[in-house]
């Protein structure tokens, strides 16, 4: 069973609405990733953190997406204004370091934008 906990499991939003999802990484893992898995099963990297610091993020994340990993709280990914094309499975993963360690994935939040 996955030790990376993602909530909610399912999220349904209307276009233009905010959509927020959360992730609790595996205990002791300082590096957290967010990936989007689309309907074609393709993975798109969105953003990653080491502790509270952003390591890398793509342009899409910089504009409509916001993410944070505050200390002692779950990490979160929020879409400020949802679009139909955002409908996907959002996967959170954590690892021990940024140096080729295994990524441990959560079961994901499935977002549907109507």
């Amino acid at each position: 069973n996955s030790k990376v906990i993602q909530t909610p499991r399912y999220l349904v939003k209307g276009q233009g609405q905010k959509a927020k999802m959360r992730c609790i990484p595996e205990k002791g893992h300082p590096v957290v990733f967010w990936y989007q898995q689309n309907k074609n099963n393709e993975f798109k990297f969105l953003i990653n953190f080491q502790n509270q610091e952003v390591l890398q993020q793509i342009d899409m994340t910089e504009k409509r997406f916001s993410a944070e990993c505050p200390s002692n709280s779950p990490c979160s990914l929020e879409i400020q204004s949802s679009e139909a094309g955002d409908s996907a499975l959002y996967l959170c993963a954590s690892s021990l370091s940024r140096h080729a360690e295994t990524l441990y994935f959560g079961s994901g939040t499935r977002l549907t934008v109507l």
């Binding site: 996955s2 990376v4 590096v31 990733f33 990936y35 074609n40 099963n41 393709e42 993975f43 990297f45 990653n48 390591l55 890398q56 996967l91 993963a93 690892s95 370091s97 940024r98 140096h99 080729a100 360690e101 295994t102 990524l103 441990y104 994935f105 959560g106 079961s107 994901g108």
Partner: protein
Amino acid sequence: GDSVTQTEGLVTLTEGLPVMLNCTYQSTYSPFLFWYVQHLNEAPKLLLKSFTDNKRPEHQGFHATLHKSSSSFHLQKSSAQLSDSALYYCALRYTGANTGKLTFGHGTILRVHP
């Protein structure tokens, strides 16, 4: 840029036959290669990871050999089982001082039938 290519979108096999899923990569630096497996409605999980010392990783009957000369890390199993039906991703990641992002291929669906 870095990329991972999985040539087959779908592989259908009869139980008991050998499995080979292709993976080739393009990378500026020498990366680590991974195979992740995702069963239906589950989180992706690590199946195999390449070693630095040319050992051949093996897990659950699967194995893969990193061939730097051909930039390949094909996944193989001598005899497919029904429970092997899943989505398989090849991925690469660097060891150096970078963000640690995992770059995925598009995935290969393996369907094993009786």
